[in-house]
């Protein structure tokens, strides 16, 4: 991790740590802790996607499917078979990894539009399975009776406990992502993003690295899904449909694709927009989402983090700053 990233990391950890104490004392926004728990769960999904989109330059519209595979694996294993949630979680992650590998090996040979459509199609298939396998998933009416989480016999019950647990996991995942970025794999990924053919010519096994990152993102999403299951203790296929995959892509885009901090910022921001601020609009929500997506893609392809960089980093050219980082 670079020095600036270390400082930002410390600052963000501090911010997240004191957040509940500030919010809980203001009754009007005391439910923000709950929103932040969801933001943390979604951050896990988006970190892997950020690596894939921003660094490997590939798009995945199947992230909600892996999120769902993790969620339903945990749900089914704990509710139907009485497994310990902590045992079900790695099983869900392994299943997601296996599926991601099977889909990823052929899919990531595809480029651009083809890849987008392939992941889109895969995501819709998984969603259909969640809807149709009523014996296992409860189908469209949902799945209940899912147990909560406990650590060493001590049940995680309050919002505050969940908050710190989830964000602890997010920071662990973040550290791991930074580690990946500054390793051999990270440099290879950036090379793939810049010019895939050149990278290949220099002996970078581009296909293998792309698949690895795809699988990594799927595993993170599945773990997020497990936590989601035990937090809300109710599952419905509509939480894992195409719209959610698009939302995850949007979260990464709004923050800034080529920065993990951007992914985090975008996720927190859009979770607040979706779960909290847009509730007043109800039916307009979809429209507002589409508009944000369009405006960002057209006018702010580097994301919000580029504006922050420009204002605080003193650089006039966000693109060159992003590309010479690391």
């Amino acid at each position: 991790m670079r020095k600036t990233d270390r400082w930002i990391f410390a600052f963000v950890v501090l911010l997240i740590a004191i957040f509940p104490w500030v919010v809980l004392n203001i009754s009007a926004i005391s439910n923000y802790v709950e929103v932040m728990i969801f933001a943390g769960i979604f951050s896990l999904v988006c970190l892997g996607l950020s690596l894939l989109m921003g660094y490997a330059g590939q798009i995945s519209l199947a992230q909600a499917a892996f999120f769902g595979i993790g969620a339903y694996s945990s749900g089914i294993l704990t509710a139907h078979f009485g497994w310990n949630p902590w045992l079900a979680m790695p099983v869900g992650a392994a299943l997601a990894a296996a599926v991601a590998w099977v889909v990823g090996v052929p899919a990531l040979r595809l480029k651009g539009h083809y890849l987008a459509m392939a992941t889109l199609g895969f995501g819709v298939i998984v969603h259909i399975v969640f809807n149709e396998e009523i014996d296992w998933t409860g189908g469209p009416s949902g799945m209940v009776d899912i147990p909560g989480l406990s650590i060493a016999g001590w049940r995680i019950s309050s919002e505050i406990q969940w908050y710190y647990l989830i964000w602890g996991v997010v920071f662990l995942a973040l550290l791991f992502c930074f580690h990946i970025l500054h390793s051999r794999v990270g440099r290879a990924l950036r090379a793939i993003h810049e010019e895939e053919v050149a990278a290949e010519a220099m002996g970078v096994p581009t296909a293998r690295y792309k698949v690895q990152i795809f699988v990594f993102g799927a595993v993170l999403a599945a773990i997020a899904g497990s936590f989601y299951t035990h937090y809300v203790t109710f599952l419905s296929p509509s939480s894992f449909n195409l719209m959610w995959s698009i939302r995850f892509v949007l979260m990464v885009m709004v923050g800034g694709m080529q920065s993990l901090w951007g992914a985090l910022l975008g996720t927190v921001l859009l979770t607040f927009v979706g779960n909290e601020w847009l509730q007043v609009f109800a039916d307009f929500e979809v429209l507002v989402y589409g508009t944000i997506l369009l405006v960002v893609a057209l006018f702010l392809p580097q994301g919000l983090i580029a504006i922050l960089r420009r204002d605080f980093g003193g650089s006039r050219n966000p693109i060159s700053r992003v590309s010479d980082e690391g």
């Binding site: 083809y114 199609g121 429209l287």
Partner: protein, 300 residues
Amino acid sequence: MDGFWLGTDLLQYTVSGLTIGAIYALVAIGYNIIYNVTEIINFAQGEFVMLGGLFAVFFMETLHFPVFAAFFASIIMVGIVGFAMERLVIRRARNASVLSLIIITIAVSIILKGTAMLGWGKDPYSLPAFTSGGPILIGGAAVQVQALWVLAVSVAIVVSLTLFFHRSLYGKAMLACADNPSAARMVGIRVRQMVLLSFVLSAAIGAAAGVAITPISLMEYDRGALLGLKGFGAAALGGLGNFYGGFVAGLLLGLAESFCAGYLSSGYKDAVALILLLLVLFFKPEGLFGSAEAAKLKRF
């Protein structure tokens, strides 16, 4: 007796498969027109179909237009939507990366879907068939009159597009743009105008498909994504950019789906087209009728 029933079933599934397949074929043709001129995959293609159906409902039920007036009015309205999409959005994204273009067309599709939800609500709508009359019995299978209309509309579109591309100046200019945009510009073809035309044309074709299918399968605001995806499946199956390949593949896809719904499981019928799409993308990305060499030359 068993054999007899199997025969009628088969015929029945074939007819319904061809009907829905004709719709996928039209969606696939819509993709191909835009793709050929711009190399963009328009993720909003399915929304054009949805809008076509719903606009026809508006013209017929609210304004009490006669059937064929509503048909053409709806096509014109959706054509305007396609025009607006190119003018307001795609033109601004001229230099965007593939990733951005994918996201931009997805954003447009979400906006169209959201607008349709506000305008028409969440309920499915129906339309009366183009011409009244009970189902026709052919070899024991009941064929709805509207199914014949769907087939007639798609055949008419394919024939007129063929004439357009090979006989008219605009059509030839569009083909030239598809071949080589810079060379087309050098000989004086206004490429931007052709891009605009491609969006209007493909929106109008989508709308025609939407109006034709609404009397059979109803139409609601969130139908677009799945129709678009299956249409893309047909386009990919036929080789992206390959006009007739897309048409044939659309019919095949419809048949596969109909047989699955009939003989295997109706819940998974939507998955059939998608699984075929994945298999084609994974094992033969240039499509059944496309050439691998041509696929390599494409930028995306």
